[in-house]
Amino acid sequence: MLSELFSAEGFVGLIFLITVGIIIFGAVVATMSRRLVRSVAGLAIAFTGVAGIYYFLLSPFVAMMQMLIYVGAVSILIAFAVMMADPEDHTGTSANAGTFAGPLGFSIGALIFAAFTILGLKTEWREFPKQGSGDIEQLGKALLTTHTLVFELISIVLLIAIIGALVLARKGRS
């Protein structure tokens, strides 16, 4: 076991376990801390761990995009929302909605986790022979040939989101 740990593969496995630990720690902080600012920090930590998982899944480009968009943009955006709309201190009160919301949510989440785990581990997945390597060159070609329509539609969605966010946030300002 110890000699395995100091080989190259064992070290990679150790880094993978650390990545999984970062994800679990971040998710726990994001959902269970009382202050919303800590939740946002936990969310950023969990997203960093997910970027590491993408790297292990042989896709460094998506890992990079995860760091840029989720850790760099979405977390900061939510931090802005916390700063703009949460002046009061929640230290005294519970972060949960009601007396039953915590146990109810925990049981529902645990049930869904158990169901998906059993489903994922018990199913006999069929592997197909790989047709490509899935590197960034093929990704770009597929985005601009096979999936052009979706690519253009997503830009329209983002444009509408920008205009809608501006209109919503501006209304009511004197």
């Binding site: 496995g13 959902t31 989720y70 909605a97 994922g120 990704l139 919503l168 209304k171 009511g172």
Partner: protein, 108 residues
């Protein structure tokens, strides 16, 4: 199958994705404020992205489709977060609170 060799198996990634999804559902049900629910919904999206990437790496014949799905999920999540944040700001301006207990004007 040693514990240091876990990263070569599809099941590991599916369990991680289920974990993120379960945490997200827990946060969605249990959180009191709208921003807390928004944070939990981001965890749900991250779980689904990890699932797509895992199937892309291990099972899909063309290992580009899952990456494209994940990139589009990222774009949708960014748009959704922007809209949700502006809704939170508008709600806070009208109600002076983002507590879900206070947003009950439509309750019969």
């Amino acid at each position: 199958m040693s514990i240091l060799n876990l990263y070569n198996f599809l099941g590991t990634y599916l369990v991680i994705a289920a974990l993120l999804f379960g945490f997200g559902i827990y946060g969605l049900v249990a959180r009191k404020t709208v921003v807390g629910m928004l944070i939990a919904s981001e965890l749900v999206l991250a779980g689904s992205s990890v699932n797509f990437m895992a199937f892309n790496r291990f099972l899909a014949p063309d290992p580009v489709i899952g990456q494209i799905f994940t990139l589009f999920i990222m774009a949708i999540a960014a748009a959704e977060a922007a809209i949700a944040v502006s809704i939170v700001v508008a709600v806070y301006r009208n109600y002076k609170s983002i507590d879900t207990e206070d947003l009950v004007d439509l309750k019969g």
